[in-house]
């Protein structure tokens, strides 16, 4: 269960630009929503606040009863390690790790290393369609394949919340739809909450609900 209430964030000190103004949102497990909005409206800021990578000026983010805004940096980092999956526009697959290692990275972070972690990562790679290439290198992959690796990495540790920030921004439309479908499929099958931030209505269309972000509210897009 994700509960966002009265979330506000401004940048650049007093009298500065207010990016988010008292935003509230509540999502049950199994939700898969898209957040759209104009460029610069604060989509990424919202994601960072939800991920605990940024601190709100006001408001709370509560996940499964834990108010993330009360956690210190260490605790927040540990929480992220356990419960969060990320998919980035630029993939951010580490070039110096092979595919299996990239996917297994979140498991390693939890101190799980060895056959069990490798097996989980391999299964995950298999699930995103890269089963035969566990020991391939990122440099050998296309953009779409890199994003598949990223999706595998985002889900390998069974997170409660998956945040995807323009996951298809760097992909051509043909590959994009495949990736979006894959993401949706895996988020839902893991029983996680998925939030897809995009400015593409097409991409947003793959979500169960589409919310449009304004500075002071999230409203369903009809």
């Amino acid at each position: 269960m994700l509960d966002i209430s009265n979330l506000s964030r401004r940048f650049g000190g007093p009298g500065s630009r207010i990016v988010l103004d008292r935003i509230s949102l509540s999502l049950p497990p199994g939700s898969y929503v898209a957040v759209v909005g104009e460029s610069g409206v604060g989509k990424s800021t919202l994601l960072n606040l939800v991920a605990g990578l940024d601190r709100p000026d006001q408001g709370r983010v509560v996940v499964d009863g834990i108010d993330l805004t009360t956690l210190d940096d260490e605790a927040m980092t540990r929480w992220r390690r356990e419960h969060l999956g990320f998919v980035f526009q630029a993939f951010h697959v580490l070039p110096h790790l092979d595919l299996l290692a990239n996917v297994a990275l979140p498991l390693w972070l939890q101190g799980r290393r060895g056959r069990e972690a490798d097996a989980a990562a391999a299964a995950m790679l298999d699930a995103v369609g890269l089963g035969g290439r566990t020991h391939g290198w990122p440099a050998e992959l296309s953009g779409g394949e890199l994003q598949r690796v990223a999706i595998a990495r985002a889900l390998v540790h069974r997170p409660r919340l998956v945040l995807a920030d323009e996951p298809t921004g760097n992909l051509d439309p043909a590959r994009a739809s495949g990736i979006l479908a894959l993401l949706r499929e895996h988020v839902l099958s893991a029983g996680a909450i998925g939030i897809l931030v995009t400015h593409s209505l097409e991409a947003a269309g793959t979500a169960d609900r589409v919310l449009k972000l304004h500075a002071d509210r999230l409203e369903p897009l009809s």
């Binding site: 990320f86 980035f88 110096h96 790790l97 972070l109 290393r113 953009g143």
Partner: protein, 830 residues
Amino acid sequence: MKQGLAAVFIGGLLRRRAASALSVMAIALGVALGLAVHLINGAALAEFGRGIRTLAGEADLRLTGPASGFDDALYETVALHGSVADASPVVDIEAGVVGKDTALRLLGVDALRVGAVQPALMPRPGGDRADDAFAAFDPGGVFLSPALAAQLGLAEGDRLALTSSSGPIELTVIGRVPGAGGEAIAVVDIDVAQQRFGMAGRLSRVDLRLKPGASAEAAVRALAPLLPAGVVAITPEATVARAAGLSRAYRVNLTMLAVIALLCGGFLVFSTQALSIARRRAEFAFLRAIGLGRRRLAGWLLGEGAVLGLAGGVLGCALGLAFALAVLDWFGGDLGAGYFEGIAPGLELSPGPLIGFLALGVAAGVAGAWLPARRARAIAPAAALKAGAGDPLTVGSGARWSGPACLSLAVVACLCPPVAGIPLGGYVAVALLLAGGVLTLAPLAGVVAAACPRLPVAVGLARARLQAVPGQVVVAAAGVLASTALAIAMAVMVASFRDSVDRWLAKVLPAELYVRAAERNQAAHLTPTLQQRLADMPGVAAVDFLRYDRLILDPALGPVALIARTLPADGDELPLVGEHRVVDDPVWISEALVDLLGLAPGDALTVPLAGRGHRFTVAGVWRDYARQGGALVIPLERYRALTGDDLASNAALHLAPGVGVDEIAVAIAAAFPNGGLGIASPGEIRRRSLQIFDRSFAVTYLLEAAAVVIGLAGIAASFGAMAAARRREFGMLRHLGLTRRQIAAMIATEGGLTAASGALGGIFVGGAIALVLVEVVNRQSFHWSMDYRVPWPSLALFVVAIVALAALAAVLAGRLAMSDSAVRAVSEDW
């Protein structure tokens, strides 16, 4: 467009201020050291040459022989020779100053002759003797050069007591030698020098002015048959050149070290440029896409290197100049090595060396930028523009065979003979070892990384990165390798040298007490009477006497020391090296003579003694660290039989059991009051020798420190640039749940592993370079061997320290990566 591009490239250097500053500093350091060494030695040499020229005056030729002099009958023969216009006889001795622990250079000249050949040595009476026409002949008078007068604080009318075999000689200062300027010399009448300072019937040299039209070469040939064995005719220029040759090896060695420091600077430019280019890949791709040619792109990048080099060069020249001035002030012209004692050189600035070292700085900058620029040329715009492509940090790993090839070539270079007395092959080997070491860094880093555990995750990530991107290690660790290698090489060489010198001293100083007629004093000797009195001293069990002289074996070489001493037939009391045998008429030669004269045990050597050549057989080779120009030892009895000279310069006293060294020393001092005897225990001599040794190597510690600073700067610069380039990666890892601490640990591990690779390579390369320095460079430069010794504890400490410092430098440089802005960088637009 041009100006615009200048802003993109050169302006970019300003944006990367920290990295640029480090590169500039590194180059400046190398340039400064090189220039300073060059200027200091240049100044000393110039002053030394000027001194010799001043004293040689207008002489076209100089007849010179053993330090003990030659028969003065030669003077008349030569002065009347058809090719000689003027001849000036000179007695040149060192005389101890009574009551002071110093000796001064005392020249006996003929005031009626010296003016035509060496006007600078003309004595001028002063004070109340100014009008005395015969002051220059005054047997109780001495003339001081302005420098010596100032040094001793003496003026006309003051007394100066000098030591001699027959006791102290009281002289009165009756004038100056104004022409001698900065030379510290005292002048007396030649007759006084001969009769009162133990040179009766002998001359040290005759300076000649030739008749107009007579060539020096022809005169040398014409005079040669007239000269007794051991006396040669040489030009003053040759004397200067010989003196320069003696210290040349030392100078070249220092200059080479400075060049290696510059090389480290070049590596640093390479590191920062490689990283900066990797980081700006997309930028370049964009520029290429909008029409910038490959060649121009590479040109601009080389230009960046040149600008860094130029800035470093300018800064380095200024630093070097300041450094040179300071050092000349503090240490004198030989950086404390003792080659140019007694002169006070002034700095002479000519544009040549300044431009040269500036150019070296630029060259280092350009060379450092060369490979990265080539790399940038190869950027494919389309691929690089596509976001998300991996960073291309593979530069510098080179072909697999290139490292071993360099290392093998280094072995070959070591086998080359010296060129003009300079161990060129040795230096080439050093360069090849460094290059080979750098080229072997990538596989080495792989080995180091593989030795690391996979957990904790920070270590695992660092290990994975090192294994996957060894090029990064090369870039960052090249500087560490170079500086570690340099530091270790110097440390091992100095330790080997010091250790060898120490053991050598123990071998050459077997007695309990040493007595010198006077400190470095040729004028004073132990006469047979004194020798007997020493031997008869209660508590003295035995005395070995030594007679020193300096001979000229070959006009092309400097003077060679002759040591006549009591010695067992097998020469066992000498620090012998290699094969030796028992022969009739033995002579034991120092290692320098093996190299300079090409002699080996069993060979014949003709030694000029008392004006006649005598044939000796080389019985063995001994190690001599005291006389770079070479030394030979013959038995004292043989020397006395051949020369009739029964004086001694030195005595080594073996004491009766139970007799204290101090008590005998006191007894001797009391028994020979005013005798000018110097008394020293082996411990004292050893302490003083090692003190001089340490002083002359002080400058190498400076170079080592500089190299280490440069190496660490390399790590810091590399990681600074890398951290900037990897901000998004760090940001993503933070997303995934790595704590700041873990990221810091990861960077530190990478830095430590990188430094460890560099240091490991540096240990091997440095050890090899030390071997080259010991076996090739020193042997060929200074003609002496030494035993290889590795100062393990201090080296281990050094390596641990450099790895820790490198990790710290990496973390500090990567601090940026742990900021929140890095987190946001993940979703920054490209």
